[in-house]
């Protein structure tokens, strides 16, 4: 019997080596997180900054021993800011690179074509600052890491602020791009709901070079508020034209959705031209937004950003890149799993603590409560990037939880 026991023991050991040893080896391999990112093309400034934020999280989690005891590895491809590139890249990430988890690229345009694919394959996708890409697809494993929340909050806050200061008419300018057009449509709906007359409406193509004509038309319309949804080159062109032509004394608030006025190089080059603009933002270095871990993150990020030649301040996107990592980190640690359905169930049911504040997700994968900031540039001087590291240059008007001051109206007075 003893010999038989020995044989049984040896057989058991051999089986253990085969059966248990293999997964043990597999578990020592890295967890691969795949994504495309706009590293060239029009969205590259944001994409690179976002990626540095994600890389800081990767290094932090690896320094702590990894995710579920395994090192984290990022597999990143350049999507050239193009929607046509991303489906093939994500197919490669899944079928060739065999990544464990997926992060979406920065922005709406490259993310939108991925939604049908991830829904069809039943995959968890962590969004990265896209806007309403799940609106029609309705994928239940999509979690957008962005402050937007309910789609109408952002333009509604702007319009309500104008109404509070006596506005009865609105001019709407929007780029001919999905993100801007979605917002413009919502803004028009809110204006109708609040009996605000749209006195000027202009959609412009992305290749528009000169904005003086539009600014002249706004001035002629004598609008009380001007809601602008523009992309970085257009935001610069519009602000220059506003400085040169003027929008007239009727305008109480100007801005809303001007992309680019969150990026350091544009903030530095525009300087005092931004004064008075009431614009959206995601994160600002104000005391009301000093969440645990944020300071340590920015110290690490700002060192790397100089080397990587990306946004040296990084307030707009980079901390949200880090928060994408924190989302999967908290979910994986709590569930001890990398199964997409399990992680998605956790993300839907729990509050995620991150360096951009606590995050809760609604059924559509967007934040339950919007934390999109509406802030007014004030007292900004020219050619000084350091001023933006201090509080007080962008007064947070909304949401109330983060408020640091009241709006100054009319627009021309706020520019002085």
């Amino acid at each position: 019997m003893k010999r038989l026991d020995l044989i049984k023991g040896a057989a058991a050991a051999a089986l253990a080596a085969i059966g248990l040893g293999m997964p043990a080896i597999a578990q020592q391999g890295p967890i691969k997180i795949g994504m495309s990112m706009p590293l060239t093309g029009g969205l590259a400034a944001g994409g690179k900054s976002s990626l540095v934020g994600i890389e800081v999280w990767r290094d932090d989690i690896n320094a702590k021993g990894g995710l579920l005891g395994r090192k984290v590895e990022l597999v990143v491809y350049d999507d050239k800011s193009s929607a046509s590139e991303t489906p093939a890249i994500y197919a490669k990430l899944l079928d060739v690179d065999k990544v464990d988890l997926l992060f979406a690229p920065y922005a709406t345009v490259p993310t939108a074509p991925l939604m049908p694919m991830v829904k069809q394959r039943g995959l968890l996708l962590i969004g990265n600052f896209s806007f309403q890409v799940n609106h029609t697809v309705k994928h239940d494993m999509w979690f957008n890491n962005a402050p937007w929340g309910p789609a109408d909050t952002w333009p509604r806050n702007f319009v309500d602020l104008g109404i509070k200061h006596g506005a009865k008419t609105i001019a709407i300018i929007a780029a001919d791009q999905e993100f801007a057009q979605n917002l413009a449509k919502i803004a028009k709906g809110i204006a109708a709901e609040k009996n605000i007359t749209v006195v000027y409406e202009q959609n412009y193509p992305p290749a528009t070079v000169e904005f003086s004509s539009m600014v002249r038309a706004i001035k002629a319309s004598k609008a009380d508020m001007v809601f602008v949804m523009s992309y970085p080159p257009d935001s610069v062109g519009l602000l220059r034209a506003v400085q040169e032509i003027g929008v007239g004394p009727s305008v109480k608030i100007f801005g809303g959705g001007m992309v680019g006025l969150q990026f350091s190089n544009i903030m530095e080059s525009m300087g005092s031209l931004m004064n008075g603009v009431v614009n959206y933002n995601s994160y600002l270095p104000e005391k009301s937004m000093d969440f645990p871990g944020a300071k340590a993150f920015f110290e690490k990020y700002q060192k790397r950003a100089v080397e990587a030649k990306v946004d040296p301040l990084g307030y707009y996107l980079a901390p949200f890149g880090y928060a994408m990592g924190q989302m999967v980190e908290q979910a994986a640690h709590a569930t001890k799993s990398l199964d997409h359905k399990t992680l998605a169930a956790y993300l839907r049911a729990n509050t995620i603590q991150s360096i951009v504040g606590p995050m809760e997700f609604a059924a559509d994968g967007e934040r339950k409560v919007s934390t999109t900031l509406l802030a007014q540039f004030r007292g900004v001087v020219d050619k000084n990037i350091e001023q933006f590291r201090q509080p007080g240059k962008q007064i947070i008007l909304l949401p109330e939880a983060f408020k640091t001051g009241d709006v100054v109206v009319p627009f021309e007075k706020a520019r002085q």
Partner: protein, 290 residues
């Protein structure tokens, strides 16, 4: 909301904008219009010129002065680019045009990636006393940066027109465009003449690039915005016509500006290119082509 005041504003601004289009197209009018080189890298060179002006502006130079200072460097760049194109494509045969397209597309990507590696992907702007200010002429308020573009375009057109009609080498360039074999029979070397012309076409791009970054911000991919417009201006003008380039630029600028002001910005590019098709249907050689 039609008003004559808005229409007048649109026409004046359109003239300014059109001159700017002419300034960024005039180099292409030489390289493509006169030399028949499918120079699709022209807008990329333009952006390179803009970044050159940006770099010197960071050191305190006025962007227009920076553009002028960069012209010899761009002349050399043009000469080298043409020489490589000639050796690898043009002298090999009749399909040089098609293969040349591939060559210049390649050059475009190299320039774009080179700019990204040196300057990063962020947008760049320049500072100058006249940027962000405007002057009132009657009831019309004109941004001074657009006046800079207007002046730049006039200066470039006058300089090139004078050069091509008054100097020996300028007339040789026009001759090579008309009949290369005849020029060879006269004892001139067409290769050297073309090299000179391509060098000049690229040199003026340095100044045009400076105007580009004065008018608006640039980023490494800005060239994509200008590829259609620059070729449209050159073809509309009639290949190789310098004053035609100025007129075509102004026509395009005024039409775009009026359409944008009175009908909607989305229609502006479509109307411009529709106008090009109409002109070509009536005059296939362009407005000033022979």
């Amino acid at each position: 909301m039609f008003s004559f005041e808005l229409l007048l504003d649109a026409v004046v601004l359109g003239v300014m904008l059109g001159c700017f289009y002419a300034a960024v197209s005039i180099g292409l009018s030489v390289s493509f219009g006169l030399l028949d080189v499918p120079h699709v890298a022209h807008p990329a060179f333009l952006v390179l010129g803009a970044y050159g002006a940006y770099a010197l502006n960071q050191a305190g130079w006025d962007p227009i002065v920076a553009g002028i200072v960069l012209t010899p460097l761009f002349y050399v760049l043009g000469v080298v680019a043409y020489r490589v194109y000639f050796e690898t494509f043009e002298k090999r045969g009749s399909d040089a045009g098609v293969r040349g397209l591939a060559f210049f597309f390649g050059v475009t990507f190299i320039v774009e990636v080179g700019i990204i590696m040196v300057f990063g992907v962020d947008q760049r702007t320049v500072q100058a006393g006249y940027i962000g200010k405007a002057i009132d002429i009657g009831d019309v308020r004109i941004p001074m940066r657009m006046i800079a573009a207007f002046g730049g375009a006039l200066a470039l057109t006058l300089a090139l027109t004078a050069y091509f009609s008054l100097t020996f080498s300028g007339r040789a360039i026009r001759a090579v465009a008309q009949d290369e074999i005849a020029l060879r029979l006269m004892g001139a070397n067409p290769l050297k003449v073309k090299q000179l012309a391509f060098g000049i076409a690229t040199a003026v791009v340095a100044v045009a690039g400076a105007l580009l970054i004065i008018v608006g911000p640039v980023e490494p991919t800005t060239h994509r915005v200008y590829i259609g417009r620059t070729f449209c201006v050159v073809v509309l003008a009639g290949l190789g016509s310098m004053h035609g380039t100025l007129v075509a630029g102004i026509v395009l600028g005024v039409v775009e500006s009026i359409v944008l002001t009175l009908y909607g910005a989305s229609w502006a590019p479509a109307i411009s290119f529709a106008m090009l098709l109409v002109v070509l249907a009536i005059r296939p050689q362009g407005m000033f082509g022979r």
